[in-house]
């Protein structure tokens, strides 16, 4: 042994306490769960793309035939085209709306904010249906537009409605965190309004703008409901996957289209991660929050702007609601509830609605527990870096994966005869699991953010007091995070109610969901009943959200008296 080697004492290995051991086991278990619900289905999808219809390995043959079939390849270009156009329209629109909400004095700010969120509670086919009523072959205003609403124009208009709240939410957050002192400094230095806007406001919202653009682009790219209803002969990737799988039962080609669909979504996600990493906290602890002061001209202008946008949103929602109540569009405009008697339009009748509610509750309960406990394990486990990295990756993966793609992966993975989890196939459970997996990332991020805001020394204190970690989790961590936990649950419920894309491949006749039933009913040509089902979904998810807001204000206030000073 050389002297140099012996002079350096051996690296100390700290003993692992029972708590540490339990948490590490938890992380491993959690990684396995994520692998089963996210990793392996995607892997099956990837593998499927290299097989022929009989399951034989054929290399890149499917991809070659995809890219050499103009009809298929054109859809990819169409998707890119429509996504780019929607992004260019929605982001500025949402920016000015968010600017109005955060930086000006609006008369009924809460109302404008509430209206901007409405589309979140609707399945994506709702705006499509409304457009059919307004501009379709028998639409009210058909004469106003030159050609047909079915196709590019229809998709763009419906997508603006559908993506608007998501972009607005991101930009409101970006614009809300401003330091008033920066504006005071700019004023004191005599900068013009335009210069202040360009040198202070825009740079402050830069990352929000990029994020919003990527989110809108990905949403349009991967959405299925709108293109299905109003796309007409304008093919996009999302409808192609559906046609290949459901229409032609060509699973391999479906997998290939899915992979093509995955690429831009994954790319957008990666760009967003890189951008977010560059973002530093603009709002230091010493920042003075910006409170807008009234200014007549500006406030009037933005009130007008917000009114126009809000009326647009309400018009689309109102059209769908009105259409669902009309006897025979457009010949007999008298009102009726007949369209809500779903048994006349779809074999599952109202059952699909109750399936949806059941599934949404299941996803909210099961998903929230999994997401919060998982995020806690990953955040609070000491050392064990590799496994925690694996979990982090798997938890972020779903964000990059379009619902259709994940749903397709589920068919291949869970329907494989040799899979011991095969019994889940065609049950309500698989719909719950799929929904939780599909919306995993946002819940995980919400939980992680809430956990990061808690003093990291709580666990150190507990260890010094010889209190096991699970007790601190139950008595301190979870109660403190209750608002975030509720947020996750509501987010899961609403998305489970409205999602179409990932579950459209996975339902069985007795587990059909309302959103899927709406697609089927629309496919059969009964727009009114499809609209009626969409309205029922909107009412349900909006009511749950309203309950949440009320609970947040009154119940939590009482339960969490410790927050008051």
């Amino acid at each position: 042994m050389s002297l140099a080697a012996s002079s350096r004492p051996p690296i100390l290995r700290i003993a692992v306490s029972r708590d540490d051991l339990m948490m590490r086991l938890g992380v491993v278990l959690f990684a396995v769960v994520l692998l089963v619900i996210v990793g392996l289905p995607l892997w099956s999808l990837l593998a499927k793309g290299f097989e022929d219809r009989d399951g034989k390995f054929v290399g890149l043959a499917n991809y070659v035939s995809y890219f050499s079939t103009p009809a298929l390849f054109d859809s990819a270009l169409n998707s890119l085209h429509v996504s780019a156009v929607c992004t260019l329209i929605v982001v500025p629109l949402a920016f000015f709306y968010a600017y109005a909400l955060t930086r000006t004095v609006l008369p009924v700010r809460w109302l404008f904010q509430g209206i901007s969120l409405i589309p979140i509670f609707a399945p994506s086919l709702l705006p499509g249906l409304a457009l059919v009523y307004l501009f379709g072959n028998q639409g009210f205003f058909k004469g106003l537009i030159g050609g047909s609403i079915y196709g590019f124009d229809g998709i763009v208009i419906a997508q603006i409605f559908y993506c608007f709240p998501h972009a607005t939410l991101i930009l409101v957050t970006a614009l809300a965190t401003a330091d008033a002192r920066l504006y005071e400094a700019a004023d004191a230095l005599g900068a013009s309004k335009l210069r202040v806007f360009c040198t202070v406001t825009l740079p402050g919202a830069k990352y929000g703008l990029i994020s919003a653009a990527l989110v809108v682009f990905t949403m349009v790219m991967t959405d299925f409901g709108i293109a299905k209803v109003i796309g007409g002969n304008f093919n996009v990737l999302a409808t192609d996957v559906y046609k290949q799988v459901i229409g032609q039962q060509n699973f391999s080609m479906g997998a290939v289209v899915g992979m093509v669909l995955l690429a831009p979504a994954a790319l957008a996600f990666l760009v967003d991660r890189v951008v977010q990493r560059k973002q530093v906290a603009l709002l230091t602890a010493r920042a003075v929050p910006l409170i807008p002061k009234p200014k007549l001209g500006r406030d009037l202008f933005f009130t007008g702007f917000c009114t126009v946008v809000s009326v647009g949103i309400l018009a689309i929602l109102g059209m769908a609601a009105w259409g669902s109540l009309i006897k025979y569009w457009p010949y007999n405009l008298s009102l009726t509830l007949a369209n809500y008697n779903f048994t006349n339009f779809d074999a599952s009748g109202w059952d699909s609605y109750f399936n949806s509610v059941e599934m949404a509750i299941g996803a909210a309960v099961f998903g929230t527990v999994l997401m919060f406990v998982g995020a806690w394990l990953n955040e609070k486990t000491r050392e064990f870096f590799f496994m925690r990295g694996v979990v982090q990756f798997l938890a972020f993966l779903p964000m990059a994966v379009p619902g259709l793609v994940l749903g397709l992966g589920y068919i291949f993975f869970f329907n494989a005869p040799n899979n011991p989890l095969n019994f889940l196939y065609a049950t309500l459970a698989i719909l719950v699991i799929n929904t939780v997996a599909h919306f995993y990332t946002v819940g995980h991020l919400t939980a992680t953010t809430a956990l990061k805001q808690i003093d990291p020394e709580f666990e150190s204190v507990s260890a010094s007091l010889k209190v096991p970690v699970w007790r601190t989790f139950a008595r301190v961590t979870a109660p403190i995070c209750l608002p975030a936990i509720l947020d996750i649950a509501i987010y899961l419920f609403v998305n489970a109610m409205t999602t179409v894309s990932s579950v459209i491949f996975l339902y069985a006749p007795d587990t059909k969901l309302a959103s899927v039933a709406a697609v089927n009913i629309e496919e059969a040509g009964t727009t009114a009943a499809a609209a009626a089902l969409c309205i029922v979904i909107v009412i349900t998810s909006a009511a749950v959200k309203a309950l949440h807001v009320l609970a947040d204000r009154f119940l939590l206030g009482r339960l969490q008296a410790w927050r008051r000073r």
Partner: protein, 355 residues
């Protein structure tokens, strides 16, 4: 017998050495401060002792027991953080009793112990309140009571006072010290505030760049700093660049000063001659006093209780020092800008460090 023995402790993050071969003994019942600028490794050392961020190598023994590789929950310590880390959703009673509940004592026994502790820290009525309803100083006391609840053998305080405003900080200094003396609990406090360390500690460990610069009582650290870093970091110090002529003579810009005998330095080496501003003598200088120099007052800063004067030594290039003059002295001697006077640097107050 020493309560804690730290031997050859090192902590490395990749190529960065956060702790470099630290060895230290802490006696039973002693109050020790780790003092140093931010990034010197004092908190790293504290967290290694707690087991929260284990060392890369080296050993720690507590009361003869090797705890080097034990997880925090197997060690015997109570800890108070700068952030207090009070559980916001639990009342003061539940916070203080948090560690007692898991020890399966009776409810009554726990209640009694919590009351005892709250009285001890001077908050007998705070029990039913939530942390957010308390002031910063009160929260810190609750954190202290919680850390002491399980009667740990070692109390660790990580910058416990730095989040408080000056007045509260002063009062809590005395209270914590008095409490520690009453309970006799061995205590380590991390601080970057030299005044805090000087007033509270039995012994101070001055740290810099991951290594110990000096260990000693507050008087030793202040009067006989072992290194130029300690001399500079603790209190104010004048550094005059010079050369060692003989073991007890330093030449500064042509002038020779008497100083205590230097064993470790060879004549001819570059040195810094150091004196604290309050040690510069002005009044009643005998005719034969050593190290007399003529100076001119070039700056006079009013600091409240005294004035800090900048004195330029006459007939030198730019040898200057600061000296603290009381208000009386300023009035009596008529000190003002531009005033020339004689001062003396008492040899026994001079320190010499290799430059």
């Amino acid at each position: 017998m020493s309560h804690l023995e730290v031997r050859n402790l090192s902590k490395r993050y990749g190529d960065f050495t956060a702790l470099d071969d630290i060895s230290l003994n802490i006696a039973e019942g002693e109050f020790v401060c780790f003092l140093g600028p931010s990034g010197c490794g004092k908190t790293t050392l504290l967290r290694a002792i707690a087991g929260l961020d284990p060392q890369s190598s080296g050993t720690i023994h507590q009361k003869g027991r090797d705890i080097s590789a034990l997880p925090p929950s197997k060690r015997d310590f109570g800890i108070v953080f700068q952030s207090y880390a009070l559980f916001p959703n639990l009342t003061v009673v539940d916070n203080v009793g948090y560690g007692l509940v898991s020890r399966r004592e009776g409810k009554a026994a726990i209640g009694q112990r919590v009351n005892e502790l709250l009285t001890l820290v001077g908050l007998p009525d705070a029990g039913p309140k939530y942390p957010a309803q308390l002031s910063g100083g009160q929260q810190q006391r609750v954190a202290l009571a919680r850390a002491l609840a399980t009667s740990p053998g070692l109390l660790l305080l990580d910058e416990p006072l730095s989040a408080l405003d000056a007045r509260v900080r002063l009062r809590l200094r005395h209270e914590i010290k008095a409490l520690q003396r009453t309970l006799g609990v061995t205590t380590i406090m991390v601080t970057h505030d030299q005044e805090e360390a000087l007033t509270m500690a039995d012994r101070i460990v001055v740290m810099n760049q991951g290594a110990i610069e000096q260990v000693g009582t507050p008087q030793e650290i202040y009067r006989r700093p072992a290194t130029a870093f300690v001399a500079d970091f603790v209190g104010s110090m004048n550094f005059l660049a010079g050369t060692l002529l003989a073991p007890d003579k330093v030449k500064v810009d042509g002038r020779t000063f008497d100083c205590p005998v230097q064993d470790g330095l060879s004549p001819g080496s570059k040195v810094a001659l150091c004196i604290r501003p309050e040690d510069v003598r002005v009044r009643d200088l005998p005719a034969d006093i050593a190290n007399r120099v003529a100076v001119e007052v070039t700056e006079l800063d009013f600091v409240g209780a005294f004035c800090r004067a900048t004195l330029k030594v006459q007939d030198t290039q730019d040898v200057a020092m600061t000296a603290d003059f009381s208000s009386n002295l300023i009035r009596d001697l008529g000190v003002e800008l531009g005033r020339k006077l004689d001062v003396a640097l008492p040899p026994d107050r001079l320190r010499v460090f290799a430059a």
